[in-house]
Symmetry: C2
Subunit: 369 residues, 2 copies
């Protein structure tokens, strides 16, 4: 499926339209494979900035390119794709918008059947945007959805070569399934994070002094760009509204149970427990690091004095011990110059690492969790 | 305020009732300061396990202890506190329940004015529970709320000594303010995470293949213990229901806007944008690492091949460069053996670190974000 890079190159030239985070990151990845990349943006300064970062040239192509990658806002995507197809600017055109069914429908309505167009969606957003936040490795190991319907085989070959050069994982899904999936795993979580964070906008100052890691995690994506998300949510309105309506029914059930705590405590507790158990079950379905179900690692917690060089010193010591670290989490607390570093390792390696670090003078929880 | 440890010890003996995560962690912290700790639990095996972990003795005290720490489930807290006060078992009794007003009210109703009782709440839960998950440093640098009302000065001195030995940060709040605060920063975010995760319980398998870091973060706390959370939510029913009702109004507004996208797109976009902007504003209020507003660090992204020892090798190299790392994030993707490590450093240090690591053979984004 992703043998493109081993064959003679099927993508030697590319036009990237829209040099924000996604477009510039695609361009940087293609430049690493010596593809000739032309950069265009409605804001010429953004295209120039991308060019200065090594993403390609702002000179327009003088002949048909092998591939055009459209990475403009979701609401402008169908129009730009249709123009490129009508002008025969590229042998194959792909878009990268976060919502697929509407784009495919609008393109078909404008230019008719479009065998040279493939709808795609890289799952690699960030809280930051613009060419300055772009990186050649943004898509490395990330899922990249491809909605193949109607595309011819040569165009699919170019799309596979694109994803291969970006290091992404192909996930083929038709457009309605894709849009329902991202509503579930991305758009509704974004709305929920924003709504929880919105409550904090009016909270008392000293209430926020009790903030813990849980709130930080739940609200992290609430820092995202509102204009981009207005575009995404309006383009996927029906699937998002459907899931939010289900979520609202659960909110109602929780509120109802909380209002009945004094009247009928046993019923209220059962109702709350049922919702929390469904949350446990859903969380347990998230894929783990290597595509399987979540793996349980043992955590080795290490207390880290917040002096310059302490984390570097820990790095040196962990490196010397030679245990493979699967994940790291640093917990911060407001107002206190100390941190707790949790090193996630294979369960069999935990006690050895804990003992070795303790022997080197680190404060490590002796039981290794 | 936290001079207790420098004075002659005011807490030489302690009875910990409830040897779960919180009680055992308190006991371990006090043992580090040579306090004599007695351990009790309705489940004798849990108390024995805590004792085996070095948290104290299961022998009951033979005379009045200086301090009793009640760390049982929220619903059992008032009863246990009242019993200890009535039996004059300790000079001072503190509880650690996540909700305060109900406990204070129930204790007052049972034993009358209680100058030897102080309601407290350490902000240090975990997704794991039980004595095996306990650690002496669980409270290090974490906020620990204290509701002082009605307590005499000698009891407050003992409480400050307790928090000092645990390394916690005292946050004084009266009980209603505390309960409103934790509803906002802990209980409602927990419900929201559970409700988003609950949607995943029924989602299509291939939808979850598109899971990104955002969903992982939003739903992390949804893995928490349902029984504990039923207790917490029912004990803080009114404040949680009030905030959830506000949140539900915003859900309704979002659903309404999404349903009107075709009819009145400009109005719908404005309504969605307003909610997302409030989310931005609330998120920006979270305290940063050292108690101030969130600090912006520069991120240096490094591509990490998932071979044994690669992270250790990175540790050694970062240690050798000698830059102070403020935070680390490892992004995982399902199905792909590679990770991206983001090292957060002071903005002035970013380009030097990126250059040094690139020189050592690491794939580093050249612009340093």
């Amino acid at each position: 499926m992703s043998r493109g890079a081993a064959d003679p190159p099927v993508v030697r030239s590319c036009l990237v339209v829209g040099t924000g985070l996604i477009g510039t990151s695609v361009a940087l990845a293609l430049r690493r494979h010596d593809v000739v990349v032309h950069l265009a943006d409605r804001d010429p300064a953004a295209a120039r900035q991308a060019a200065e970062l090594g993403a390609g040239t702002v000179d327009p192509p003088t002949e048909q390119v092998d591939l055009a990658v459209v990475a403009v806002s979701p609401s402008a995507t169908a129009e730009v794709v249709s123009g490129l197809l009508a002008g025969n600017v590229a042998a194959t055109v792909v878009d990268t918008a976060a919502v697929k069914a509407g784009v495919l429908r609008q393109v078909a309505a404008t230019v008719g059947p479009a065998p040279h167009f493939v709808g795609t969606h890289p799952m690699a957003g960030r809280e930051r945007s613009g060419p300055g936040a772009a990186r050649a490795d943004l898509f490395e190991g990330r899922p990249w959805a491809v909605s193949a319907q109607g595309a011819d085989e040569r165009s699919m070959t170019r799309v596979r070569a694109l994803l291969d050069m970006c290091g992404a994982v192909v996930v083929e899904m038709d457009a309605p399934a894709h849009d329902a999936a991202v509503a579930l795993v991305s758009h509704v979580p974004q709305v929920a994070a924003s709504l929880v964070a919105a409550r904090l906008a009016e909270g008392a100052d000293n209430a926020l002094a009790l903030t813990g890691q849980g709130l930080r995690d739940v609200t992290r994506v609430a820092a995202s760009d509102p204009d981009l998300w207005v575009d995404i949510l309006t383009a996927n309105a029906e699937p998002v509204a459907r899931i939010l309506t289900e979520l609202r029914q659960d909110v109602d059930a929780v509120v109802h149970a909380l209002r009945e705590v004094d009247e009928d405590p046993e019923w209220a507790r059962t109702a709350l427990r049922e919702v929390l158990l469904r949350g446990n079950a859903g969380r347990a379905r998230l894929p783990g690091k290597h595509g399987g179900r979540s793996t349980t690692y043992a955590l080795v917690p290490v207390v880290l004095p917040d002096r310059p060089g302490e984390l570097g010193r820990l790095f040196v010591d962990v490196g010397a011990v030679g245990v493979n670290i699967e994940d790291i989490r640093i917990e911060h607390s407001p107002g206190q110059p100390v941190g707790l570093v949790e090193l996630a390792v294979a369960p069999a390696a935990a006690s050895g690492l804990a003992t070795a670090l303790a022997g080197l003078g680190w404060v490590v929880h002796p039981e290794g969790a």
